[in-house]
């Protein structure tokens, strides 16, 4: 784990992710508008909350920002690079190398150990030598308080522990940004707080950007920025005071 960098504040440099007039319509007999005309810029070292009622398009927006889904119109740029022309392989590589995902459910591979679950994205990317992968995964798990559980399988862990493993997996390839979809949604309040603190540490100590969809307005208020969605549109984008690490 790298040493804690000085926080730069939101959008201090080139935007990490930029959505330009992004609209997503689900085709069907009755087409469904998921998000419409979203203009959004997320910079480095931001801790962003996306909130809104159910069906407001929070997760859809997150999937569009994470290249898991394609906009019907508009475009998403990652580090200033347009993604509309990318083929499936290129989008997959961008996700693997530049983005980290945490979902409401941990989605860990059940047959693999905790350590294996954290190392497989590194093995897929092939950026690190074999020995370094294990070392890095051990360090990540140690920092997240899972040092004693590395050889356990996911079903031997609690919900909060599993979600922290999912966070470690998301961090494995050192992505600049973590996209989290209701990361605390399936956890009790204590585990939720633990995961929230982990995400906050990622921003504050590692200088990453975290964009998290959440229903919990209490958590959203504790983040740097709070984007509110309603019926697929941004109806609020509020900056909170940055808790700079000194």
């Amino acid at each position: 784990m790298s040493a804690a960098p000085q926080r730069q504040g939101p959008a201090a440099t080139m935007p990490l992710i930029e959505a330009r007039k992004v609209t997503r319509i689900l085709p069907g007999i009755v087409p469904t508008m998921l998000v419409q005309g979203i203009d959004l810029t997320v910079g480095e070292n931001e801790f962003v909350a996306i909130t809104g009622p159910s069906g407001s398009g929070k997760s859809s927006l997150l999937y569009l920002l994470g290249l898991l889904d394609l906009p019907t119109t508009g475009e998403v740029l990652i580090r200033g690079r347009a993604t509309a022309h990318m083929d499936e392989e290129e989008r997959a590589f961008t996700r693997l190398s530049m983005l980290g995902f945490v979902f409401q459910f941990h989605f860990l591979l059940p047959e693999f150990t905790v350590l294996d679950n954290v190392t497989w994205p590194m093995r897929a990317l092939g950026r690190y030598p074999a020995g370094a992968m294990k070392t890095r995964a051990s360090e990540l798990l140690g920092v997240l308080g899972l040092g004693d559980h590395m050889n356990k399988r996911p079903d031997q862990l609690s919900g909060g522990q599993r979600q922290r493993v999912a966070v470690a997996r998301a961090l494995a390839n050192e992505p600049a940004i973590i996209l989290a979809d209701e990361p605390t949604g399936s956890l009790d309040s204590r585990a939720s707080e633990q995961v929230f603190e982990v995400l906050r540490d990622i921003v504050e100590k590692q200088g990453k950007t975290v964009v998290a969809v959440t229903h919990d307005l209490g958590l959203a208020e504790r983040m740097d920025r709070h984007i509110e969605l309603l019926d697929g549109r941004i109806v609020g984008d509020e900056q909170h005071q940055i808790n700079a690490v000194t």
């Binding site: 997760s59 590589f93 961008t94 693997l96 459910f105 591979l109 994205p121 897929a124 990317l125 979809d181």
Partner: protein, 411 residues
Amino acid sequence: MNLILDIAWTHVRSRVRQTGFAVAGVATGVGFSIMMASLMHGSQNDFTERLINTLPHITVTDERRKPPPQPAEQLFASAEIHGLTPEARRPGIKNPLATMAALESWLPGGIAPSVKVQAIIRYANHDVSTTVTGIDPRREASVSELPKQMRGATLNALYRATNAIVLGDRLSDKIGARIGANITLQTSQGARITAQVVGFFHTGVRQQDESSAYVLTKTGQILAQQTGLINELRIRLPNALESREVAARVERDTGYKSVSWEEAYEDLLSTFIIRNIIMYAVVGAILLVASFGTYNIISTITHEKARDIAIMKSLGLSEFTVRSIFVVEALIIGFAGALVGFVLGYLLCRALGTVRITNPFLDSDRLPLTYTYVHYALAGLVALASSIAAGYQPARKAARVHPVEIIRGAT
């Protein structure tokens, strides 16, 4: 371990029962395919071997492939002539010793002259049409297995009596002749001699054993009523499979019709092709059925693993990688099935080899089996290919999963 292999191995290993059934399916297919190929190939080899051992590899007769042109046709090339009787020629190979010497100068194998005559054997109110071949016993070992196929006496017994004869064992059974019996041989030209039975032979080819007899060349010439007649040269090669080419050269050199054993039994050998097609079709069908098991397990795994596939794709594994994982799983099943199938096939062949059978067409009381790595390689390759084919479709389907749909469904 490679990531694809690691995930694939973990998937198949964590479903011991399902994987076991799929592997057993492939193994059964491979095992029975090997057994069947071994049996079919064995019986074919056994039959071919008996043909090769019984017959000379090449038989040169005093016939011509095409009838020689008549003198009138040569003189009047443009005329169409009807009703001419073909020019009668003296039977036999002209100057046989010189012809043999010329052939021996380049032929790799042995060559022996003989006289073949059609005759009727009369004994104890039995009249049986027989092919009587006049041979030189000293040369016979170089062109046929007859000396080894003798029963009750050696081939040299032909020298023991005037007009001695050895009969096929089935022929002797048919007419009831025993050693020492005096039988009458009569030809269509009216020649008639009495010959003494001095031995029997058994080739294993029913047609030969039922209607063939051997005498000395001299006796054959007496039956043919032509002194010095040699109407057949029999050739044996070190490699029987070269006989077609060598026969063609002999025919070019001598002008006489030269027939290889393959040509003589062309119809029969062509049935082997049909037999082989049937065999490979059945083997293919067995392995195809086995591949349904592989398809089933890969389909089940991809169905069960839809969520894992979605998460792997969402985190950045490409479609190719996801597809490769499941194709490799199919390959693991196919490979394991092939290995177990090899052992099963070998054991089945061994077990089949111990089965005692009674077949009038076979000398041995055991089933003829051929053991060759080709059967194993072929069955293994087909098993792997069918496993890949069976795994590819569900793998392709799995790789095309849209992660968002699965993740939304799961949440």
